[in-house]
Amino acid sequence: MSTTRHAIIEEIIEAVVEGEPEPVIAGVRRALEAGVDPETVLNDGLTAAMTSVGDMLDRGEVFIPDVLWSAEAMQEGLALLLPHLSEGASRSAGTVVLGTVQGDVHDIGKNFVGLMLSGAGFEVVDLGHDVTAEAFVEAVAEHGAGLLGMSAMLTTTMPVMSRTLQLLEARSLRSGVRVLVGGAPVTQSYADKIGADGWAIDATKAVAVAKELV
């Protein structure tokens, strides 16, 4: 890659890290005009920048809102890039249906997971809170979701997760979707017990587990 092209990629990375959408869009546009391979822009620019932001968060160098802003800026760049990417190139990490289970109104944790998943390139269908097993299953079927994320903050609402899994089985949808559970009282052993595919302790871990599952 020429120095100019290299510099453009560096600018894109910097703009994503700073969470500034306009320079990201301008950078992607310039990269395409300069003839940089769109997949290089995606992998070495946008994706690399988000990995870098994630590492900075791990080291306590940025705050969570910074990551969300970076994710948003990245998405803007991605939207411009999408028509130029070949069919085979990873456009989306997959579709996730997300919600807090029936009887539970706590959704800041679930919102946070949604924002982080969206930042990581997932299409997020957020059903909100107080979501029934039926609603989860219908949304999975409707959106052809590869991933279902359920959150519960109360021990009394956790059984809805188990019910949803049973309903997925009953509708023969279980094999097509990986199920991720979380929330303060939910543990790995509970996830194992009800037959979920994954559990994460927090939003950052949820992204890692989601990426492993799909």
Binding site: G60, F63, P65, D66, N111
Partner: protein, 490 residues
Amino acid sequence: MSDVAPFTPAVRLSHLGDDVKTRIFEAALRVLADVGASVQHDEAVRLLQKAGCSLDSDGLVRVPRPAVERALSSAPNAFTLYDRDGAAAMELGGHNVYFGTGSDLMWQYDPHTGEHRPSRLDDIARVARVCEALPNMDFVMSGAYPTELDPRGVYAVTFLTMMRNCTKPLVIVAESEIDLGVIIDVAADVRGGRDQLRERPYFLAYVEPVSPLSHPAESVAKLLLCADAGVPVAYVPAPLLGATSPVSSAGHVVQGMAECLLGLVLHQHRAPGAPFMFGVNQGTLDMVSGQPSYAAVEGFMNYLTVVEMAKWLGLPNWGISGCTDSQAIDAQLGLEVGELTLLSMLLGSNLNHDVGFMGFGLTGALEEIVITDEFVSMNKKLLSGIPVQDEDLAVNVIAEVGPKGHYLRHPHTRRYLRKGPGQWRPRLLNRDNRDRWVECGGLDLREKARRKVQAILESEGPPTLDPVLLALAEERVAALKASPKVGSPS
């Protein structure tokens, strides 16, 4: 590290009314005027007589009210300490709060082996290195007594070791006016002359009278030398509650003030306007075990009173922080360090020494300095007060997000964190969830502090001292050690 804005708490603690402070001050004046004190230095007695005091037939000096009032009016209510390079570093006065170590600990928890062993000269170097690296340690006091050395000239050697290993201002201890004189000479060399040292003092000398009401020749001689050289001095008694002072808190403070104020009268008569620091150390005798305590709650009560009296008198104050009676780096240490340090910050206590002290000033641990630094950092945030501009009240932001929304992605959240007051970040304290904490080794605070100490000691030290100055300083110290005037090993 210098020319930084001083920390002044917006949240403050004050519990004494003017009537109470007046009663305490009047009581101290009665002790000075009626009981008197033993001053074991002829020249000092003559000076005190010239200042209006009487030397009575019982051999005691009595200090009348006008002499105290005159001294109080000439003493500066603030003065500045400068770092090794001559930059202003500590503005001592008002409610400005600074922290640093104490001196002369006989034992150390070895930072490498964890062994409890006698202190050595290299411990002083390590204390200085650690303080230099910590953003909330403002000055350095030796932290250790080099037990392996011949005691002749040992405080000058200590001074040189501190000076070589950090650039922050120093608080020093000397045996007599002889070694203090050498220390002043070395500091004057660093500054480029006596006048320059007077203009930009590099250190404060810590001098103690002996409670009750006794002013030994060496203490008084050091006090006078500081007055002459314009070197800031803290003249601070250490009465032990119920043993060398009355057992009552107010009585302890009254006697301590009388002792300190006699020093002030002498000092200001010798050099009106010279920098003087007020203080009374808080020591408590455990009346069951006979063990003195640095962290007894009665001592804390006296401390609150002493600092308030200093503010009331308009004098910079000598304070205490970051120390414990615990013999281990444990939860008791955290609790006592935290309480005393937070009190100092709430009081706006000016120069707070003894960070890193354990077991009544006998053992030192570098981990404790690192832990205190984290605690100070956290509480600087706590006591900074909350801004309440429209931007902070955030009514518009609340309206924009509305019921059932969230603020994680609102520009206000990001702006506040990035460009506004932000959020205080722990560097040692744990906030990891269980999984991540286990993944990172499951380290407790003691171990994290130990590792931070190691990292500091392995990092590059401060800029070295000019070799010409160093050679000159070593020459002066060598001459002191060879001098027949310094005491022989006891």
